[in-house]
Symmetry: C2
Subunit: 194 residues, 2 copies
DNA sequence: TGTACATCAGTGAACGCGCGTTCACTGATGTAC
DNA sequence: TGTACATCAGTGAACGCGCGTTCACTGATGTAC
């Protein structure tokens, strides 16, 4: 192989992180093997340990980068309360439910994260806190901490709703659940219905 | 081994189902091997296929029996709206969070269920519907279908909340999340705070 | 300018291990005579 | 009442397979002379 500049190694690592994010969200943490993850990134299994010391370290790094990306996406929406409404509507859309690989890591992996190492869970917690803070500060810029509880509960409702909607075999029922939770999320957040 | 009556086979099957339920909720579906599951039931790996034709069939049977048990537990609470309040408080208690093995199968396994066979997901859906119906009929006996949406959203919120509370490494934050969701579940359900 | 060498990201075969599954066997009991 | 046999839940070794991980090797390039 070519002798590359320093930035090449970084780029490969980032590529693994991103394709692993998609694979994990599609097939689960336990359901995704190293060989598959590397093949997704256009590499072979052996190269893995040049970038990560173990699968657990990869999981930790992926979780961190997935949540960071989610925060960034959220911040890119309309400013203020309008952006919160957009978030809720996108999150609870049939499109999000039907495409776990490109969706929210919490919705796809939360109960597997529950069983992860403390390091991975710490990665998760810091991302969670940032999202909750961002919702809160958009709702009540003058006193965000007063609505951190609602923000967290609504986020939990959205995560639970998408998971359930994915589990239900009856599409009509699954769609109704998304619609109902959208309504109630707006209600709890004190937002106007679109 | 002894030559037993017909009821013995049934009892053994039930014992496997129950211990597998606990193990699955503790270590996940993928994280629990046949040898471990059988050892939990006081048997050896080989005996498994005398009771189930595959691991997938076991998962389906366990999910069905777990949700059935949950419905039964719910029905055993105080009648009417009081029982719904009890359900919310028990579900969102630190005790439930800290003991996944004896807790709700949705909270422990929902995003793994998402990736299961359609049979297993159908088992899940029928249990889910029964729980939602039971909440709805207790809230508004005269017209349960009018509140099925709230019931479903609140159930989703409870599931998401317990999962998150389990993932968070900061116990104080985890406890605050449970408390906040209890408040907002009561609010959505139109129940008085205890 | 041309050649020998150092670099190092990536290769691919191999490791021991636990997985889901199969199967020949065991052995305590109820039944037949 | 005593013995031979049928039953069948459960045993435990073995199957091929994919897992996470290791490692000797490759080969295209930049650098040294």
């Amino acid at each position: 192989m070519a002798r590359y500049g320093k930035e090449h190694r970084e780029e490969t690592r980032k590529r693994i992180l991103e394709s692993a994010g998609r694979r994990f969200k599609k097939d689960g943490l336990d359901g995704s093997g190293i060989a598959t993850l590397m093949s997704d990134a256009g590499l072979t299994n052996g190269a893995f340990y040049a970038h990560f010391s173990s699968k657990d370290e990869l999981v930790e790094a992926v979780l961190s980068e997935q949540l960071q990306a989610q925060v960034a996406d959220f911040k890119a929406l309309s400013p203020g309360r309008a952006g919160v409404a957009e978030l809720v509507q996108m999150y609870l859309s049939p499109d999000h439910r039907d495409h776990p690989a490109s969706g929210c890591p919490s919705a796809a992996l939360l109960d597997e994260i529950t069983r992860c190492s403390e390091g991975a869970r710490r990665s998760y917690m810091s991302g969670f806190s940032e999202i909750v803070d961002e919702i809160a500060v958009r709702l009540v810029p003058a006193d965000p901490s007063s609505v951190r509880g609602v923000a967290a509960s609504v986020f939990a409702m959205m995560v639970g709703t998408v998971q359930m909607s994915r589990a239900l075999t009856d599409r009509k029922l699954a769609d109704e659940l998304l619609a109902a939770s959208t309504r109630h999320a707006f209600e709890l957040l004190g937002l106007d219905h679109a």
